[in-house]
Symmetry: C2
DNA sequence: ACGCCTGCTATACGTAGGTATAGTCTGCTT
DNA sequence: AAGCAGACTATACCTACGTATAGCAGGCGT
């Protein structure tokens, strides 16, 4: 059950967009070429310009399509909490594209939304915490979001470490188990953290 | 006390390398141009080729230089544990370059070493853990390394969330506090994790 | 039937940028 | 002094690629 393409998606216009998503995902925005995209879509390079005007605009169309698709998936998946905080699972064919968007720096809207969601989610989780954290919530959410996206962005490297493709069943299983383990076992004890914080106050050197 | 340049580093050859580190860090490998690098270094584009042969080879020289410098810094910083597991602090001028190297996928040796180090470090930390994790250590270390590198790779986005440059004192402070908080407060309780794991076994969907 | 909008192709243009070559200058060896 | 080597520049070349233009086919309203 991979994100089913609407029947209407067989149009050349849609094929171009899909090809662009794939090419940009695989090679990055700069290295992806209109000619290559056109070839994959089975059309002439001219048609790409005809439909989208420019390479930049094509990318924006991809962004929009991804955003819409993600929203749809998000809704139909319901409001279940982000177990393991793992966006890899859902993204399927868009994973690489998203990773590029993030690491090449043109995914700010998406990231901002992740931060917003995370912030709300953390606020809720903080209900039953003895003393509130001394970091502002936005920062904490941002860092957490970045960490959550790490396996997506650095998938190539993580795959090396895991010895399995991140898309494969084995890879997903390994990744999820690792995330569960990491997120349920603190690296630092509260005391260690407190000590480090104290050191921060003392010597801003 | 930023990584002091050796006096001998004033040679054109070294200036080219430094300019390349900067340009590639700022624009990425593809977008960085030999002409731009040459201009920054105050030399002709031809000299770049004279010294390094090709753009690719120039990048490799940068990699090597970064590796050596990092080793030097690593040694002179002693064996103190990676508090907050935060490589951002040290990297200084190389941060952007490293981020590019990671996200553009040509930093495998560096990442592999991080995984090795992390693996050893985790093994030690696992001494006093009631039951061993059910993930293989390499995978866990890889995911953890990726997460640790997230603020570096996604610095642009994290900065947005923090509202401060990651290099600034304020940014460093915020980031470190966030990391301390995150690493000393689990997102999931062991029970939740166990439940999620159980779900994994049950329904591989 | 006629025009025309739309999807589409073929071809051409301009430019950026990696690479290649030839030549200049400086300093050192013999 | 002669001459060689290495650092460095100027210039040229070639390819890749984004963009622009012109033209063709086919369905649709009138």
């Amino acid at each position: 059950m991979t994100t089913a393409p609407d029947p209407a998606d067989l149009t050349a216009r849609a094929r171009i967009r899909d090809a662009a998503l794939r090419h940009i995902g695989e090679h990055g925005y700069e290295r992806a070429t209109i000619r290559g995209i056109a070839e994959t879509a089975g059309v002439s390079p001219g048609l790409v310009r005809h439909h989208y005007g420019s390479k930049q605009a094509l990318r924006e169309a991809c962004d929009e399509h991804l955003t819409k698709t993600m929203h749809r998936l998000h809704e139909q998946a319901g409001q279940r909490p982000p177990v393991g905080f793992n966006p890899v699972a859902v993204m399927g064919p868009y994973r690489r594209y998203l990773a590029r968007a993030l690491s090449e720096g043109w995914a700010t809207p998406f990231f901002d939304e992740m931060v917003r969601v995370g912030e709300r989610w953390l606020a809720e989780a903080d209900q039953d915490r003895p003393e509130p954290p001394d970091v502002d919530p936005r920062t904490r959410a941002a860092v957490l979001a970045a960490m959550a996206l790490a396996p997506t962005v650095l998938s190539q490297l993580v795959e090396r470490g895991m010895g399995a493709a991140i898309d494969s069943a084995e890879g997903q299983d390994k990744l999820l188990r690792a995330l569960l383990d990491i997120h349920s076992h603190s690296l630092l004890t509260p005391e260690e953290a407190a000590r480090a914080r104290a050191a921060l106050e003392g010597a801003p050197s």
